[in-house]
């Protein structure tokens, strides 16, 4: 089953990491991702730009366009992974591996209902 691992973290804190700290986290995360890739279990991965770059469309009539993320929260959605896991335990194990590489914050693990790999080639 495909699981979404949604990455939440305080973006002020992440933004205060030094370049070296940031690079060290990315390197460690790459190791976890490589392992999953070799196992054929890694789907799309995204690191999102800061929430200051976000825009929210409220589906009012007419639709309302607002600057900023959908929800003002202490931790923000900063990225996500899609990973193929046989059950929740396995998904939690992947999240723990990712968490060990990336201090602080939280992961939300959500089973995927419908998945369309799409055709965009960035």
């Amino acid at each position: 089953m495909l699981y979404a691992i949604l990455c939440y973290h305080d973006e002020d804190t992440v933004g205060s990491w030094t370049k070296e700290q940031d690079a060290a986290v990315m390197t460690k995360l790459a190791v976890v991702q490589d392992k999953l890739t070799k196992q054929g279990r890694l789907g799309p991965v995204a690191r999102l730009l800061p929430t200051t770059a976000a825009t929210t469309l409220r589906k009012d009539d007419p639709p309302l366009v607002l600057d900023g993320p959908y929800a003002e929260t202490k931790e923000q959605l900063l990225g996500f992974y899609l990973v193929d896991c046989k059950d929740l335990d396995e998904a939690l194990a992947v999240a723990s591996d990712l968490g060990a590489a990336n201090p602080g914050g939280a992961y939300e693990i959500r089973p995927v209902g419908h998945f369309n790999p799409g055709s965009a080639k960035p």
Binding site: D10, E11, D12, T13, G15, S16, W17, T18, K19, Q21, A24, L49, P50, T51, T52, A53, T55, V65, L66, D67, G68, E72, K74, P103, G104
Partner: protein, 423 residues
């Protein structure tokens, strides 16, 4: 990577909010800073053992406030306590939580903290030094290094600046809309100054001063998070991001300036550019243009061009025209002339800058640009005179080196053809 390094990052990120709130309680910058320092010391002891709190800023505010009040009560400080109503909720944990969730308070606290540093009596360099010390929490040593002065001199500069703002009577009431917008404008200008301190460095100082650019971007992002719907703050942030994205391509191995046209564009930082472009897109939707947005749009047109010849100079010319109306300045016209030279040729550009000669008679870039136009027109003797003047006015050795490159080219071109190798 040690735990301490991560705790340090958490303390740095919580600092503006925590010091801002403590300043609101104590209405005294020194007390607020000391309270924050004490809270940080406790955090360094407590967090590795107990784990970091969910909300580091709230933790630091509470602990800092308690420690400072204990100190004052025990008579360690020769200072009157704040009015009782301001501190009577001290042990009320729920109030803490409510406070934390009150985004508008938090927003004005940080804005006030930044605004204090923009006191109009303070020269720009002192404003910047104060902001880096108080808001960013850089050490005096770090700031001194970035400004290329001794630690003692910087210490003195910051102490003097602090004394100045202490007498300034910054109002602590929640600001009204007009006042908030004025504060925002001053703070944006100060963040831009911090960035320029880093950006205008060159040669061997460029690397030392680059952290100033990063710090300015951090502050701009912070400000934008507080004022998400302000197009000029989007513009400012975008401008800084796109300018800084070119950092790795701006100097050669000897520290000499590489002009935009000659930069290796593969060295440009793509995520920073993407973030900048996203912000400009957002800002444009508001249809409330301003100088930062226009400058960001100009930077974006350069960033969007994969090759120098793809640059949309016509659009850049128009944008500089808009900027001239918003912010008339001979320097803006000079920049516009560079775009004009690409669109309508060097003669039109030269005609445009001639009227500026009197006002820019001591400005390095004026003579550099003028020399370049004259050179393109084949008026080599006049070009040489302009370049000589530019070298005399150069602020850094990198600037002088760049002009000498032009002079060398003139020298080569003026040699008789027969002497050129292979011809």
């Amino acid at each position: 990577m040690t735990d301490a390094a991560w705790i340090d990052a958490a303390l740095t990120s919580a600092r503006p909010q925590a010091v801002g709130a403590l300043l609101r309680y104590f209405r005294n910058l020194d007390t607020a800073e000391e309270a924050f320092q004490n809270a940080c010391l406790r955090a360094l002891k407590s967090w590795p053992q107990n784990g970091p709190p969910r909300d580091p800023a709230a933790w630091l505010i509470m602990v800092g406030r308690n420690v400072a009040i204990d100190d004052i009560r025990r008579g360690k400080k020769q200072q009157a306590l704040p009015e009782e109503e301001a501190i009577s909720d001290l042990d009320d944990a729920e109030e803490q939580l409510a406070e934390r969730l009150d985004g508008s308070h938090y927003r004005d606290d940080i804005l006030r903290l930044l605004f204090i540093c923009c006191h109009p009596d303070l020269p720009a360099t002192q404003q910047i030094a104060l902001a880096l010390r108080i808001v960013s929490g850089l050490t005096v040593k770090q700031i001194a290094r970035a400004f290329l002065v001794s630690e003692a001199a910087m210490e003195q500069r910051i102490t003097r600046a602090k004394a100045r703002v202490a007498d300034a009577n910054v109002p602590f009431e929640t600001p009204g809309a007009v006042e908030r917008s004025e504060r925002l404008t001053s703070v944006a200008a100060m963040i831009y100054l911090i960035f320029n301190e880093g950006y205008s460095a060159s040669g061997d100082t460029a690397e030392i001063r680059a952290p100033l650019c990063e710090e300015a971007i951090r502050l701009a992002r912070l400000l934008l998070r507080l004022f998400q719907g302000e197009p000029e703050i989007m513009g400012l942030t975008a401008l800084l991001l796109i300018q800084h994205a070119r950092a790795a391509a701006r100097f050669d191995a000897d520290g000499a300036v590489i002009l935009l046209d000659d930069q290796d564009r593969s060295l440009w930082n793509k995520p920073l550019i993407a973030e900048g472009l996203a912000l400009i897109d957002k800002a444009m939707r508001h249809r409330r243009s301003g100088p930062y947005q226009v400058q960001a749009a100009i930077a974006a047109l350069h960033a969007r061009a994969e090759k120098p010849e793809d640059t949309d100079w016509t659009q850049i010319d128009l944008l500089y025209g808009a900027l001239e109306i918003m912010q008339p300045s001979p320097v803006v016209t000079l920049n516009r002339a560079v775009a004009v030279s690409k669109v309508r040729g060097p003669q039109a550009a030269l005609d445009m800058i001639e009227p500026l000669a009197a006002r820019l008679s001591n400005y390095f870039h004026f003579f550099g640009v003028r020399g370049a136009f004259l050179m393109q027109l084949g008026r080599n003797d006049e070009a040489r005179t302009a370049f000589d003047r530019a070298i005399a006015l150069a602020n850094t050795s990198a600037e002088a080196a760049h002009i000498r490159m032009h002079l060398d080219r003139l020298q080569r071109d003026s040699q008789p053809r027969g002497k050129k190798a292979g011809k």
